[in-house]
Symmetry: C2
Subunit: 369 residues, 2 copies
């Protein structure tokens, strides 16, 4: 994987960048939709591409449990298995042992957890997650980290940062010369000193990219932005920075301005399945009675497949009828909205007008969207 | 609507025909997938077209209850509402008052029933179903009929045939000069004399097409085929004949040979959602463990989108993971399979080799599929 900065914003830390992988090139800032179990829920790979998706995130935790990484390797790797020819990033699975597993025992060796599918006990260590991600064959893989629970005290988080650093080192040692880029995860909770310690320790080892973990887990927006801003200072300019699990369009724009290049979140896809659709004038709840006989598209001027072909009234009917097509049409729109946001941000950086773009966007008037 | 017979089979009553509607031309024998609530469950209109679907059936009962026919009319009619530009046939809703409603009271005026959605009481009479179908704007609409419950005695069925005939006459009187073709429904249960009476009565009134109702509701195959064969004799050669709710590929081939032109059934779509896939070597249950690491498509040589891009192993994984994409990919394959069967039958009639086609098909070796 190659990364280079194409242009820097004059009014902020934002930058327009380029990532080149064996499965294609993409521009940053980029949003990665989540394809948890080997599919972006509700849509096909072609639809993802048509909606502007350039790279997807797949979850190691889920794929390890079902159908199993060895099976996927046997079938030619994750790209081929799921028919997605573009870049893929896999996470390490560490976060899901916190968010999904009922049991989670952490030792120096790794994490023991219970499958949310059948309750069976499993172990993920640094070496395991490297092996799993090698077999899946993603373009970008992640080191195992410990994401401390929200509210953990400084002593706990300190130890967690140290453990994350040790695991990152062990992942680095397991690294193969197979073209996969390896990103590490900066932890440290809401504690500036611990974030600095985590960043410095990881940067000294040298990774292809740096992720910020443990954010958007319960902290307020002000705290989150402070942590992003100060942590970013300790990360190298020549490497991509990835804010994990974020997020809202507002959070994305604010984070881009602080120098973040990559994002992932279930928000556009999950909201779509819940009938919440993004527009530049705010969220649209498709089941609301006001759309009963509304012949307009979700958003006038939107170029997505859904808005080009279907009315709000039809989408409301499909959603209320629980038609499978509802989830798909909604997902296409929300992913297109996010992709357009990201390309709009990129274009604004290129043209030295990110401040105006951001201002207009918050006013709900970004013409380029 | 225009119908003409292009070619007659030399070895059976089968015929190759053509139906021309305001929304396009199609060849018979044709299979109509069911788009109950304004969508073929799981797929888009473009996918249906790509899979070879030429005409779809939509259910008046469902659309009347939700979102309501007046709403659909206001939004430009059913074609526009659901973004399907090809021909549509709507049924009268009568059958669903039998199969879905908990209450069903029949009088000379029509049927009173309870909505399966919210228990509310509704009434459908001949005039009502004509008005509903006029507003929906389908290319082919159906008269209201009474489908007698399976096992009904001759006296009941006799009265049912008479009522169906009266309702058909009232539908004919309500007919507008708006280009919609009107089909009636021959009833009579498993009783040859009553089928003959029903057919003669309806044919004397003159409809654009004749449907056979009340079959595939519990009777055995032998009885069904006898009823189709004898009823067909009383229907005019110059009009299309439509066997409602049928069915299996075997039933379709057998019925085509008896002179049936049109079919509809939920089988390919419902089976797809249940993970049962059609192949020329029999049904494939995708969840079965034998497909765990099977890298081959559902069927080698199948040209559908699913078989062109995905392995059995992936489809099994999606199905077990309850991914939305599973239902869609399965549905595309099954509809393609049915469409290929129908075009194969048509080609065989054209080339005077329906007997061979049928023989090969049953042996699971039809090369043209």
């Amino acid at each position: 994987m190659e990364f280079r900065v194409i242009k820097r914003c004059k009014s902020s830390k934002a930058r327009l960048g380029e990532i080149v992988t064996d499965h294609g090139r993409l521009e940053t800032p980029v949003f990665m939709p989540v394809g948890t179990a080997g599919a972006i829920k509700g849509i096909s790979p072609e639809e993802a591409k048509d909606a502007g998706v350039e790279i997807i995130l797949a979850n190691t935790y889920h794929l390890y449990l079902r159908p199993g990484h060895e099976l996927i390797e046997k079938l030619g790797g994750l790209h081929r298995f799921m028919n997605w020819s573009g870049p893929i990033l896999t996470d390490s699975g560490g976060f899901q042992t916190l968010s999904l597993s009922k049991l989670r025992t952490i030792s120096a060796d790794g994490v023991t957890f219970r499958s949310h599918l059948d309750g069976s006990t499993h172990f993920l260590g640094p070496e395991t997650v490297m092996e799993i991600q090698r077999t899946l064959g993603a373009d970008i893989i992640m080191t195992l980290d410990e994401c401390a629970p929200f509210g953990a005290d400084p002593d706990y988080v300190h130890d967690s940062v140290k453990l994350t650093e040790q695991w990152a080192r062990r992942c680095l040692e397991e690294r193969k010369d197979n073209g996969q880029a390896l990103f590490c995860v900066v932890q440290g909770g809401i504690y500036p000193k611990l974030r600095e310690m985590s960043a410095r320790g990881l940067v000294s080892m040298g990774f292809d990219g740096y992720a910020l973990g443990g954010l958007s887990v319960g902290e307020d927006k002000h705290t989150r932005e402070n942590i992003i801003r100060l942590t970013r200072k300790f990360l190298p300019e020549e490497k991509p920075v990835y804010l994990m699990g974020v997020g809202t369009t507002e959070d994305i724009i604010a984070s881009v301005k602080m120098g973040v290049d990559m994002f992932d979140c279930v928000m556009p896809t999950r909201n779509a399945r819940n009938g919440t659709l993004f527009t530049h004038k705010g969220k649209l709840i498709i089941k609301n009675a006001q759309y009963t006989d509304d012949s307009s598209p979700i958003e006038e001027g939107c170029g997505c497949y859904t808005c080009s072909n279907y009315s709000r009234a039809y989408l409301r009917h499909l959603f209320l009828s629980r038609e499978i097509l509802a989830y798909r049409l909604n997902t296409i729109h929300n992913l297109y909205y996010y992709a357009k946001l990201m390309s709009g941000i990129g274009q604004a950086i290129r043209e030295d007008r990110l401040a105006e773009f951001s201002h207009d966007f918050y006013r709900g008037e970004a013409e380029s969207l």
